[in-house]
C-alpha cells in the first residue's frame, strides 16, 4: 500500500517540497514508478468524471421532481420556451 499512498500524496500535493523533488528524481530513474503515477493521475480524473456524472444525475432528479410537483415552476419554464 505504501507506494500507491506515496503516489497519491505526490498527486494531491501533500508532500513537502523536498519530498516532491526526491519523488520526481525517483520517477526519472524508474519508468515503472513514472507509469504508475501517470495511470494514477488518470484514475483520479476518471473518478472526477464519474462523480460529475453522478452529480448530474442527482440534478436531473431534482428537475424531474420540481416539474412533477411544482406547477408554478412548470408553467414558468413552459412559458419561456413557448
Amino acid at each position: 500500500m505504501h507506494e500507491i499512498q506515496e503516489i497519491d500524496q505526490y498527486i494531491l500535493r501533500e508532500m513537502s517540497v523536498e519530498d516532491q523533488l526526491v519523488f520526481q528524481a525517483r520517477m526519472l530513474s524508474c519508468r515503472d514508478l513514472q507509469e504508475k503515477a501517470a495511470h494514477q493521475l488518470q484514475a483520479h480524473a476518471l473518478v472526477r468524471r464519474f462523480a460529475r456524472e453522478a452529480q448530474r444525475e442527482k440534478l436531473a432528479a431534482i428537475y424531474a421532481r420540481l416539474w412533477e410537483t411544482d406547477a408554478a415552476f412548470r408553467s414558468e419554464i413552459t412559458a419561456i420556451f413557448q
Binding site: 500507491i4 497519491d8 495511470h39 488518470q42 473518478v47 464519474f50 462523480a51 436531473a60 414558468e76
Partner: protein, 175 residues
C-alpha cells in the same frame, strides 16, 4: 444533514433555473440545452464550494447565470470577440479539466468501471471528490474502522489504475 443539503440544492435550483432558462432562450437555445448547461454550472459551483475555492462577489443566481453564458459560448464555439466575456471566465474560475471533451476512451472506460465496481467508485468519489473524512466514509460504507476503509480505498484506486493501464495496452495493441 444530507436532507438539509438536498433541500438547499432544490431551493437554488427552483430559484435560479427560470432565469437561466430565459437567458439560454434569448441566446437561441432550447430547454434541453438550458438544463444541461445549468447542471454543468451547478456541478462547477458545488465543486468550488466544497474545495473552499469559491470567491464570488455576486449572488449565487448571478454567478450561475454567468457560468452558463460561458458554457454556452464554449459549447457553440462562438467567437468570444463578438461576445465579450469581460474576463468573466477568469473570474468565475471554471476547473481546467471541465471542458476536456469526453474522449471515447474515457467514456468506454467509465462504462466498464461503472459495471465492474460501482461500490469502489462510490468510495473513491466520497473521498477524492466529496472530500469526506475516512471516519465518515467508514460509517457510510460499513467498515469497522477508518483504517480498514483506507486500505479498501487504496485497493479500489489500484483497481481503477489497473483498468487505465489495461485500456492503454489494449489501445496500443489495436493502433
Amino acid at each position: 444533514m444530507q436532507e438539509k443539503e438536498a433541500q438547499w440544492l432544490t431551493n437554488i435550483y427552483r430559484d435560479t433555473f427560470p432565469q437561466v432558462a430565459a437567458t439560454v432562450h434569448r441566446l437561441g437555445g432550447n430547454l434541453d440545452t438550458a438544463r444541461d448547461l445549468f447542471h454543468d454550472a451547478l456541478v462547477i459551483y458545488l465543486e468550488k464550494r466544497r474545495n473552499n475555492t469559491l470567491d464570488i462577489r455576486v449572488s449565487v443566481k448571478a454567478y450561475l447565470t454567468g457560468i452558463v453564458k460561458i458554457l454556452w459560448v464554449r459549447k457553440f464555439k462562438q467567437d468570444s470577440r463578438q461576445r465579450p466575456l469581460d474576463n468573466m471566465e477568469e473570474q468565475l474560475g471554471i476547473p481546467e479539466d471541465f471542458y476536456a471533451p469526453a474522449p471515447e476512451r474515457a467514456t468506454r472506460l467509465l462504462h466498464y468501471l461503472q459495471a465492474a465496481g460501482r461500490k469502489c467508485l462510490q468510495l473513491l468519489q466520497a473521498f477524492y471528490y466529496e472530500q469526506r473524512s475516512m471516519q465518515e466514509i467508514a460509517r457510510q460504507f460499513h467498515f469497522r474502522t477508518a483504517r480498514s476503509a483506507t486500505v479498501q480505498k487504496y485497493k479500489c484506486l489500484e483497481k481503477v489504475r489497473e483498468q487505465v493501464k489495461n485500456a492503454e495496452k489494449y489501445e496500443e495493441a489495436i493502433a
